[in-house]
Symmetry: C2
Subunit: 191 residues, 2 copies
């Protein structure tokens, strides 16, 4: 599919309000079918995603969002919870069949934690790029009560929330002025 770097990077903006247009199942599937190919450490693929779309689920989610994130989240037709499976290594016999990769993690909670957090976050980057590639605007957020959100969506599972991302057609009237970025010399060196 033809896209542009402007669409996924230079001209894409974080949106703070969304217009009413719904997002259908096929688009959410297409989003996953793109992002799933992004590489993760040992193909661990720890990200788990809940696409919150029904009024009932949205209301559970809103109860966990910080006050400043409630209205924008209410306005989004879909809000994705990017979670991480803290038992991701149980799926490694399926995901990395040529190695005994499950044994690399068993009994190593700190390694499981850092691998799940790092790689589900990297997958979060793929998620945002893939959504933009499909013409969706994003509004990623870290401002929520993680314990409350996890109790509402992941109780009794090995999944924990990482971050949350509104999806839809952004309302240009609610954009903030664009914040600056670090210059190459501030962020990078060539050694």
């Amino acid at each position: 599919m033809n896209i542009t770097t402007e669409q996924i990077f230079d001209r894409a903006r974080t949106h703070n309000g969304f217009l009413g247009e719904p997002i259908d199942d096929a688009t959410l599937r297409q989003l996953y079918e793109l992002m799933k190919w992004g590489p993760t450490s040992g193909n661990s693929s720890p990200a788990r995603i809940v696409f919150v779309r029904s009024p009932e689920a949205k209301s559970r989610l809103l109860a966990a969002m910080n006050p400043g994130n409630v209205e924008k989240t209410r306005s989004a037709p879909v809000t994705a919870i990017i979670g991480m499976d803290m038992a991701f290594h149980e799926k490694l016999p399926q995901l990395l069949p040529h190695a005994d990769a499950k044994s690399w993690f068993e009994g190593k909670p700190a390694l499981i934690e850092s691998t799940a957090f790092r790689n589900s976050s990297i997958q979060g980057g793929y998620f945002i790029v893939a959504a933009r590639a499909l013409g969706l605007d994003c509004g990623p957020m870290s401002g929520f009560d993680a314990a409350k959100l996890d109790a509402a969506f992941f109780a009794g599972t090995s999944v924990r929330s990482n971050f949350v991302c509104n999806l839809g057609r952004g309302d240009p009237a609610k954009l903030f002025p664009r914040s600056p970025r670090l210059a190459f010399e501030e962020a990078c060196t060539i050694a």
Copy 2:
């Protein structure tokens, strides 16, 4: 710039060996100028990147890589260290000038740690996509001695390594068979 989703996702592969072609400064700058626009929490932008290209710097890097990652890293014309600045909040007056965002983090080491790790990893996802958009192949790796690498590249700074990524034109002869990904139903739910 026109690109395709196949180029950044479906058909892109993790490479384990690289052909000799060098990568010039202009391409490394272009890579950063794309990825820098990807959103981060509060525009925190904690990723710091060292592009390791000189033989002297490469030799310091190789000494920190796990044995299985040494040869592929040696073959790459450039290896990027994706680091994270644990004092990223010092730059928030510049990056988020309309808020007193620096004060949200001061004296909160756990919040600094999770924000730096999550957001530099998300930026790592943007980095890989941006490299592929420019026609570079990637070989991201977590297998290295972080303490040794940090001592060799970040001594006396507030930066710590997150992960490492080989860059260049991949050698198709050294590709592994592609590992499977989780089905939509295994990784996602629509609530």
